[in-house]
Subunit: 356 residues, 2 copies
């Protein structure tokens, strides 16, 4: 029998806390019977929810914590007030102590990232964490990273993002060798940032067995699904993500207004309601809820603060897949292959240099 | 009687050339009878189109040019091959010689920007051009700049963008004192790029009579219409613009698929077709066609390369408004007001410094 996947949950994070997170865990459990949970948080709120759901209780334990990180705490405040004591910290620490295989939080992103760095440490050779998200596209789904973990990136960090993002894509998208693109701007006269160009050269010169680098992509390629993994630094990645969310909400609002407009359009809506339902499902942000913090010595899943139980379950399922399919080992292997390839490339160029 | 607005048109630019641009000019003329045009391009293609449209011909002249800039020419190539001789250059030069009040091109953006800089020069105190576009929002329309003219921006350039974008907003959006936001990312732990923070401090410390600075906005605020003018450097601005376009296309594709799906949805579409038409109009990119190159000593309008006659007309109308409402004078006035305010601020701080 395979081992269960154990997820340590910060039950106090997000806008709704345990009342949404525990039902979400129950939904995820219905999909994956080999899940186990440790809930960290306020006993008074968690215990009744577990009592009401015996199936969930059977695979769960909980640990009471007094301190919770607020959504508006600065990372430094969170570390000062919540290090060791908060539900967020303890969920991360459970991964460090190997009591859990992944940590989950719907709480304050900045605090989670700062705590994860301090508690779990970075993978050697990766200097900064990144946040990767699933992005619905016309072809299915792609992975976009970094959507805001850190601002700016040198060429090496962009290459690291390509490695980590494609490791994630191999798991979540079930692809043997995902395609990777670097986000850039196409206007000829500017030709993109120096770092992006340098990263592109490195990716072309040292091809990887684990992904297929396809060159530059532009903003509209994300929605088209031109590549499986879109790599960019956190500032533009965050702006792309939020802008797309804004545009989707804007069009949804137009659509609601359009079908409410007249009697005829209401009749039309009545007939076409299944089509609208299908459309709504496609645009449902819960379907792709769950950012993965990459670059850490542990799997950390960030759920959207406003998620409901369905969104929570989806984020937990992504975490489950990351553990089951060994995200960290895949990243490590890609990194060491690349290290060897780099060494070989350097050796080869030194050989060239000594030749007459 | 007021003077006419004279637009110099690069008739050879864009994917379709004169066959779309002249009909577009005719549509714009139907809206604004005080328009006049000078068409630069291939006589053999332009002459028959003018002959077929006597009303347009009555307000137009044309000048034959042999050289056209290709869509894939690099800016350096375009300058080498087309300086002085190309339809694009000559349209810009007509503005410089005061034979026209604005130049229009649907051609190669990079070439247009490079030629505009060389031919028209920058406004003193503005170091680099920017491209501003109208962006449809839930509140109406906003102006977003820079969407790709140049990568990166120091604090002063961001302040210049706020000044130029709000001058444009006062005209196109008919606002006395438009609201301005700086595009940033909201994740607490990173708090945005240094330059963006520094620009924000300058804008807060030196309020302008011409716009109302409202602080940081995020990607999803663009579609909401949180502010009238969204300021960002060209890399993230271009990515935001293209990502939004990609998302809109993606949702349109979902929508088409949904209404084609079943008999019931087709019936629904039949009843709701007016609502869908209204929705389509809202999402019609032609409605907001026409980027304005800002920072130059002249009004230059860039139409989308793939525009049809309706899109062309819209871009020409935006150019018309910029001239009629004196965009350049508004920018100059804001700049000199700000110069005085800066001087006063510096003098005040020196006063403080010499006080005991």
């Amino acid at each position: 029998m395979t081992k269960s996947v154990r997820i340590a949950i910060d039950a106090m994070g997000g806008d709704h806390g345990p009342e949404v997170i525990l039902p979400g865990a129950a939904l995820a459990l219905a999909q994956h019977a080999d899940l186990e949970f440790i809930f960290f948080g306020d006993e008074a709120r968690i215990k009744p929810l577990l009592a009401a759901n015996p199936r969930l209780a059977a695979v769960s334990s909980f640990r009471h914590t007094d301190v919770e990180i607020r959504m508006d705490d600065k990372p430094s405040q969170a570390l000062r007030n919540g290090r060791r004591t908060s539900s967020m910290w303890q969920a991360l620490e459970a991964v460090k102590k190997d009591e859990a295989d992944a940590a989950f939080s719907a709480g304050n992103t900045g605090a989670l990232m700062a705590m994860a760095k301090v508690c779990l440490h970075m993978i050697p050779a990766i200097d900064r964490p990144a946040i990767a998200v699933l992005w619905p596209t016309l072809r299915g789904e792609s992975i976009v990273l970094d959507v805001g973990a850190s601002i700016g990136a040198d060429a090496q960090h962009l290459v690291d993002l390509a490695i980590m993002g494609s490791a994630m894509a191999r798991i979540v998208l079930s692809l043997a060798r995902p395609t990777v693109g670097l986000l850039n701007i196409g206007v000829e006269e500017v030709k993109g940032i120096e770092e992006v160009k340098a990263a592109s050269r490195i990716l072309r010169e040292t091809p990887s067995a684990d992904f297929d680098y396809r060159g530059f992509v532009e903003g509209d390629d994300i929605g088209k699904g031109t590549v499986d993994v879109v790599v960019t630094e956190g500032f533009s990645g965050n702006i792309a993500l939020k802008t797309a969310e804004g545009t989707a909400k804007q069009i949804s609002a137009y659509l609601r207004e359009a079908v409410r407009g007249s009697f005829a359009s209401k009749v039309g809506y009545f007939f076409a309601r299944q089509a609208f339902q299908a459309l709504g499902d496609k645009m449902d942000p819960r379907r792709v809820n769950g950012g993965i913090l990459l670059g850490l010595e542990g799997v950390v899943v960030k759920s959207h603060g406003g998620s409901d139980a369905v969104g929570t379950a989806r984020a937990l399922e992504i975490g489950y897949e990351m553990v089951r399919d060994q995200l960290l080992r895949k990243i490590q292997n890609s990194l060491s292959d690349r290290g060897e390839a780099d060494a070989a490339r350097i050796a080869a160029s030194e050989d060239d240099a000594v030749r007459p």
